[in-house]
Assembly symmetry: C2
Homo-oligomer: 415 residues x 2
């Protein structure tokens, strides 16, 4: 579309023909808010509150302990895992919901190191910090001389993966920049050198079609509370390729991972398949909220999600370039949509304060240290007109220097 | 009370003067059910559903990402931990809510082994299996020749704790028999031999006053979904003595345990104090349900809870003895109330079927392999008359052989 035709009206016309438009009405969205932070905490599906009320009042309150069988609590981790498998292109017995992303990363990397004699773990210095922290904790804990080899670029990554590497741990879409790695190519590259690969799908599951099985991925972990709209701190998921499941053990071997948990045997005997990656009793209420988000996503054509995600991102970039070029925003995301996920990031020295001023005007993005403004586009509920309006507010913040207030100083915000 | 005065009417009179009686109305209890399984899954407090609805609809739905600060999500694990500290007799910065009991056990035992050169971990063969499974996983994972020394009796326990022992891992109240160990004495005995002690409080927190600090306990873990009424799979808690906190590291070092989680630094720097035992993002909805249960418990005099728990247990034992002596129930719990927690267990060869028949009559206890009938007494909502009526139903099940039906065969039930 030529620039002079890029108007609010044109954006509304794009929304009118958007095949995903009907999904917006399935979310509770606060009025007067443009929510560009679904990559941090996804919005609330309308079906969630009634479902949670049912779990609390009927299942817990009325049926009490019998709900473990009667309402399928006992199978919930595998049931929701099977549903997620369809969203990430895995076989239905390759995915499990459990614990947090951090803990799942510990499990799968520990399992991988058990299979591989190598001592080197490759990751990116700019990986989401908890992934690096968990690797650090694992290495220290094992005390067997494993080393973390951190790289600073995709180019360095290729050469860093050599015959000494046991495991490569990468996040598919960067939390900071939205840069997306080539999952299949890197997996093949690493496996050709004998390494195993663990992918963190926190910023990609639910935002685009994924093909874990056909990419031959060994292990993956992911987050339930971003594009899967599972609620704050929703239980996370993990994927283990079928061919590896019965060959591996993971150290967090709790009773939910036992072959016969109710035999109450004194020794651990790992359940067959993916179930051995379960540990303790899962938080059923939060898990039920996740299931609602996942169910909603199962009805969505992921190719359309990706298409709209790219369209919204390109529109946002272009409008910022047209409307805000004079204020020195530097694009921190890849310009090529094939190289990025569902967010657009800019750097600006006043990034933190600009985000605060924008939030005050009803446009919710977020800030990542030291200077990144981060805008996520959740295609199920973000419209083209929201992108238009958000950029107009950004322009207003800059034109009127609304960011330049003492109250807009640093405090904590969660990814 | 002489046996001939033990009547339903007398039980009702005891309820009329019970100082805890008013708490029963704070729970949603299904009609026509006598729930003697609060030691497995606590009942639903009436305040929980409205609070969860608020968290889902207002905090998540309306305030979205800003709730991490605005509604104190970020501090929730420490806030609820502080509240639990008052229930277990700890200082307010010694307790944290996090993950599951299994995972917390892994953290604290790993931390203890880090401090101690010994290779022996002492526990009981009859400990709750997930505790043993987690120790097994930890030992295998560490690969440093640690050994599990399992004992079969309290007497054996004393002699098993010698100068080679690094850590003693015990459950305060046995899930199978309700037998209660002497926390302070065993802690002192172990510490005098140079060992550290980890207590699992799953079946004691909320059921009796505890004094972790004055007993000098090193580490403890506990469960949110039994006597704390936190909901199915509620997040668990852990305790680390203040004197140890800054000396230990735990391997599950996720971003919530970092000193500056939002600086997004590539290296882990453990937060001071108990916060370093946090790992990933906690399940906020389930955590909010736990907080309601804990808040309710904070208003309860724990000495009365213990007193009533003992009274209900003694009443139950006595009535079973009077009414059901001919059917060969063997007491599996200690006869002395000072030696047991808040449950009474019997063995019977037809235990599984008897429990199923009782459940059909509205008396919910549970079964533990191979032959244990388990009855829990949650003093906040179980009345003396419930105990009377439950034993009458048990008598009916035995007199009429109601248990002797093909449909009452084995299936899974969760502790």
């Amino acid at each position: 579309m030529p620039s002079h035709l890029l108007t609010q009206h044109a954006c509304k016309e794009l929304d009118a023909v958007d095949p995903l438009a009907p999904f917006r009405s399935q979310f509770e969205l606060p009025e007067h808010i443009i929510y560009l932070d679904g990559n941090s905490l996804g919005a609330l599906p309308k079906a969630t509150a009634p479902r949670i009320s049912q779990v609390v009042q009927q299942e817990w309150g009325r049926d009490l302990i019998s709900s473990w069988n009667k309402h399928g609590w006992w199978q919930a981790q595998q049931r929701v895992g099977r549903k997620i498998s369809r969203i990430i292109g895995a076989a239905d017995d390759e995915v499990l919901v459990a614990d947090s992303t951090s803990i799942n990363l510990f499990k799968v990397v520990a399992a991988a190191l058990d299979l591989h004699p190598g001592k080197i773990i490759v990751s990116e210095r700019a990986n989401f910090p908890t992934d690096l922290y968990m690797l650090e904790g694992l290495i220290r804990h094992l005390g067997r001389g494993h080393q973390l080899r951190l790289v600073d670029s995709s180019e360095e990554l290729r050469t860093a993966i050599d015959g000494d590497v046991a495991v490569v741990v990468l996040t598919h879409v960067s939390y900071r920049t939205g840069r997306m790695l080539h999952m299949a190519a890197i997996t093949a590259h690493a496996q050709a050198r004998g390494a195993m690969v663990v992918w963190d799908l926190a910023h990609s599951a639910g935002a685009m079609p994924l093909q874990l099985s056909s990419a031959g991925v060994d292990f993956a972990v992911g987050c339930g509370y971003k594009f899967l709209n599972g609620g704050p701190g929703a239980p996370a998921f993990l994927y283990v390729a079928k061919r590896l499941q019965d060959r591996v053990q993971q150290p967090l071997s709790g009773w939910f991972g036992h072959a016969r948990p109710f035999a109450f045997e004194p020794s651990f005997d790992a359940a067959p398949g993916i179930q051995r990656f379960q540990c303790g009793t899962p938080p059923i209420i939060s898990l039920a909220a996740l299931e609602v988000g996942v169910d909603l996503m199962l009805g969505v054509p992921l190719a359309h999600v990706r298409e709209k995600s790219v369209a919204l991102g390109c529109l946002f970039m272009r409008l910022v370039d047209l409307e805000c070029f004079e204020w020195g925003f530097q694009l921190a995301s890849p310009g090529d949509p094939a190289e990025r996920g569902s967010q657009i990031c800019f750097t600006h020295p006043e990034g933190y304060s600009i985000i605060q001023a924008l939030i005050r005007l009803g446009v919710v993005g977020d800030f990542r240290a030291p200077d990144i403004l981060r805008f996520g586009f959740a295609p199920l509920y973000v419209r083209h007109v929201d992108v238009w309006d958000a950029v107009q507010k950004l322009k207003l913040v800059m034109q009127e220097r609304l960011w330049d207030r003492a109250e807009y100083r640093r405090s904590a915000v969660v990814t």
